[in-house]
C-alpha cells in the first residue's frame, strides 16, 4: 500500500503506528492537515467541519479536483467515515453543485466520489446556473439566481438532510443553497474544511 499523495510505501514501522487509525495517506502527509473538528452554527443551523483549509489540504483538493486525480477520493473522509455515518444516521446528503463546464472537463462528480465512502444516501438536488438563461426565468427565480443556484425542477427532498460541500470559503454557495431550500426541513451542514478566516462565529452567522 502506497501513500496516495507522496507515493511512498506505507508500513507499520513504529510502535505508535500500530495505534494509528487506518489511513490512505502516510503519517507525514497527514500531519500537514490541521484537524479542527469544529462544531459551529451556520445561519442558525448546526454545522461541522473536519479540517482547516491550509496549504496541505488545498494542494490535495486541487490535485483531486483540478487535475482530476480520482484516486484521492478516499483521502479526505476515509479516516472519519464511521464517525460521519454515526453522526448523520438517517439523513440524506445534499451535495452542492459545481459548474457543469468544470464537471464535464473532469468527467466525474467530485463531491459524489468524495462522500461515497461514508455509506449515506446522496442526492444532487441543485443546479449551478450560468448567466445566459437568466432571461427566461421569473422574478422570484431571478432573485435566487443571484446566488447562482436553483433547485432542480421536481426534485424530491428528504425531510432530514445534510448540506455537504468540500470547503466553506466565503460561505456564499452554502447560503445560496440554504435560501432555495423550502422551510420546515431539518438541515445540518457539513464541510471537509473551513478557511481559517472563519474562526469567529459571527462571520458565518451573518
Amino acid at each position: 500500500m502506497r501513500c496516495l499523495m507522496c507515493g511512498k510505501p506505507m508500513t507499520k514501522e513504529t510502535f505508535a503506528d500500530l495505534f494509528r487509525e487506518e489511513d490512505v495517506l502516510c503519517a507525514d502527509c497527514r500531519d500537514g492537515w490541521k484537524r479542527i473538528s469544529r462544531r459551529f452554527r451556520f445561519r442558525g443551523r448546526k454545522a461541522f467541519a473536519l479540517y482547516e483549509y491550509n496549504a496541505a489540504f488545498s494542494s490535495c483538493l486541487l490535485q483531486f479536483k483540478e487535475c482530476g486525480d480520482e484516486a484521492l477520493k478516499t483521502a479526505f473522509l476515509y479516516p472519519d467515515r464511521r464517525l460521519l455515518k454515526r453522526m448523520y444516521r438517517g439523513r440524506t446528503l445534499l451535495l452542492l453543485p459545481s459548474s457543469e463546464e468544470k464537471e464535464k472537463e473532469r468527467g466525474f462528480s467530485h463531491l459524489r466520489e468524495l462522500f461515497e465512502g461514508i455509506g449515506l444516501p446522496m442526492t444532487e438536488p441543485f443546479l449551478k446556473t450560468g448567466e445566459k438563461s437568466q432571461k427566461s426565468l421569473g422574478r422570484k427565480e431571478r432573485h435566487e439566481m443571484a446566488r447562482g443556484i436553483i433547485l432542480k425542477p421536481g426534485v424530491a427532498l428528504p425531510r432530514r438532510c445534510v448540506l455537504a460541500d468540500d470547503v466553506i470559503t466565503t460561505g456564499s454557495t452554502m447560503k445560496g443553497a440554504l435560501s432555495v431550500l423550502p422551510e420546515g426541513l431539518d438541515i445540518r451542514i457539513f464541510a471537509c474544511a473551513l478557511t481559517p478566516s472563519h474562526t469567529s462565529e459571527d462571520s458565518l452567522n451573518a
Binding site: G7, G68, E70, A71, G107
Partner: protein
C-alpha cells in the same frame, strides 16, 4: 501499461477512474489518460534566417574543436558535453543549434532551474538576433511556440515528441536529478537527439555512456586557459571557522560568495557578519531574489550569503567563493565542484580564490578537490 508522458510502467501508479486508466505518477502535470493517443502539438515552421548567429567572443581553438565535434555527432547520436564549470558550455552548442535551425528542425534548451532560464533567454537572444527566442517557465507560458524555446525541465510536458534537438543543461541538478517523472517527460518531449551539458555527470549519464547511447566530449579548460581554482581546505571548530572567514573577507577587492548548507544558517551567518561587513542573503525563500543578485552583481566588492540556490548557472565575474560547513550532508560532490566553479570565470581575474571551511574532516570535500586537480592535470 506505460504512461505516454512520463514513461512510468509501475502498475501501482495507474488508477482506473470513471473515465478510464490514468497515470498518477505525473498527475501534477494534469491527468494523462492511458487510452488516449497523445498528439504532438502543432508548431510553426522555423523561420529562415534564424540560424544566423553572432558570438560576443570568438571561440578558442579548443572550444571550436569541441563545438565542431558536437555539431557533427548530433547527426548520428546523442552527446554528453562534459566540460568544467565556466568552459562556456552554452557557446559550445550554438553551432549545433544553428545547424538544426538551418535544417528547419525544432530546438529546445531545457534547464532545471527557473532562474537560469531568464539569464539564458537573454544570452541566446543576443546570439541569435534573427530567431524568435522565448522563455517558458512556471507562471510564464502564454506562448509556447517559437524558433528556439528555452524552458524549465518541468515545462517540457507541453511538448510531446516535438523537438529534433533537445539540449538539457545541468541534468544532474535538482530537481531534475534522480526524478523519474522529469526524466520521462524529457524523453518523450524529444523525437531526435539530446545534448547533455554538465560539469559533473551523475550515475544516470555515466550509465547511458557505458551503454553506448551517447558519446562523451570533454573540455577541461576554461577559455582564458588558466587552471581551475583549487579549493583550500580548512578544518576547525565553528568558532575558529568564523574567524578564518572574517580574515578572508577583509581587504577584498572582489565580490565574494559564501555558501551555507541551510536557510537557517544563512540567516544566522548574516546576523553575525552584518556586525562587521555589509552583506546580503539569498535563499530559496528570498522573495526578491532577482533584485538581490542584480544588486550584488553591480557592486564591485559585495558579499552574498547563499544556500545552494546559486550553486549553478549563475556567473558573477571575478568572484571568490567560500563554502561554510562544507562537510554538511546537503552538499554532494557535484554541488561542491559547481560551487568551486563559480570562482575565476572572468578574463580579467582568471584565478579565483576558493575556500572550503569544514568543522570535521570530510572525505567528500577531499574527493572534490581531487576531481578538480584531476581536471587541471589532464587537459586535452
Amino acid at each position: 501499461m506505460k504512461c505516454q508522458r512520463c514513461l512510468n510502467t509501475d502498475r501501482e501508479f495507474f488508477y482506473r477512474g470513471s473515465n478510464g486508466w490514468y497515470c498518477r505518477k505525473c498527475i501534477s502535470f494534469g491527468r494523462a489518460m492511458l487510452e488516449e493517443d497523445r498528439q504532438a502539438p502543432a508548431v510553426k515552421p522555423v523561420r529562415s534566417g534564424s540560424e544566423e548567429y553572432v558570438l560576443q567572443y570568438p571561440l578558442t581553438e579548443a572550444q571550436s574543436r569541441v563545438s565542431h565535434q558536437c555539431a557533427e555527432a548530433i547527426d548520428t547520436t546523442s552527446v554528453l558535453l562534459c566540460c568544467v564549470c565556466g568552459a562556456g558550455k552554452t557557446e559550445l552548442v550554438v553551432e549545433s543549434i544553428s545547424k538544426m535551425l538551418k535544417a528547419g528542425k525544432n530546438v529546445c534548451f531545457a534547464i532545471p532551474r527557473r532562474q537560469v532560464v531568464l539569464e539564458l533567454e537573454n544570452r541566446l537572444r543576443k546570439y541569435f538576433p534573427k530567431a524568435e527566442v522565448i522563455g517558458v517557465y512556471g507562471g510564464h507560458h502564454e506562448k509556447t511556440d517559437a524558433d528556439l524555446v528555452i524552458c524549465t525541465t518541468h515545462q517540457l510536458f507541453r511538448y510531446y515528441r516535438t523537438f529534433d534537438l533537445l539540449i538539457l543543461d545541468e541534468p544532474d541538478a535538482f530537481p531534475f536529478r534522480g526524478n523519474a517523472v522529469l526524466h520521462g517527460i524529457a524523453e518523450t518531449a524529444c523525437r531526435g537527439r539530446t545534448i547533455y551539458l554538465t560539469a559533473t555527470p551523475d550515475d544516470w549519464l555515466k550509465e547511458k555512456e557505458k551503454r553506448g547511447e551517447l558519446i562523451c566530449l570533454k573540455l577541461n579548460r576554461r577559455p582564458h586557459g588558466h587552471d581551475l581554482p583549487v579549493p583550500v581546505i580548512r578544518t576547525a571548530p565553528t568558532v575558529i571557522l568564523l574567524g578564518i572567514l572574517l580574515c578572508w573577507l577583509k581587504n577584498r577587492s572582489t565580490p565574494r560568495m559564501i555558501f551555507v548548507p541551510t536557510i537557517r544558517q544563512a540567516h544566522l551567518l548574516h546576523a553575525f557578519l552584518s556586525r562587521f561587513v555589509s552583506c546580503s542573503v539569498c535563499t530559496s525563500k528570498t522573495e526578491n531574489r532577482d533584485e538581490v543578485i542584480e544588486e550584488f552583481r553591480q557592486k564591485k566588492n559585495g558579499i552574498i550569503i547563499s544556500t545552494t540556490v546559486l550553486e549553478r548557472g549563475v556567473t558573477i565575474p571575478g568572484s571568490d567563493v567560500c563554502v561554510f560547513h562544507a562537510e554538511h550532508g546537503v552538499f554532494d560532490e557535484a554541488g561542491l565542484i559547481q560551487m568551486a566553479g563559480r570562482a575565476g570565470r572572468s578574463f580579467q581575474y582568471p584565478d579565483g580564490d576558493v575556500l572550503f571551511l569544514e568543522s570535521s574532516r570530510s572525505a567528500l570535500v577531499r574527493k572534490c578537490r581531487k576531481e578538480i586537480l584531476e581536471a587541471n592535470r589532464c587537459v586535452v
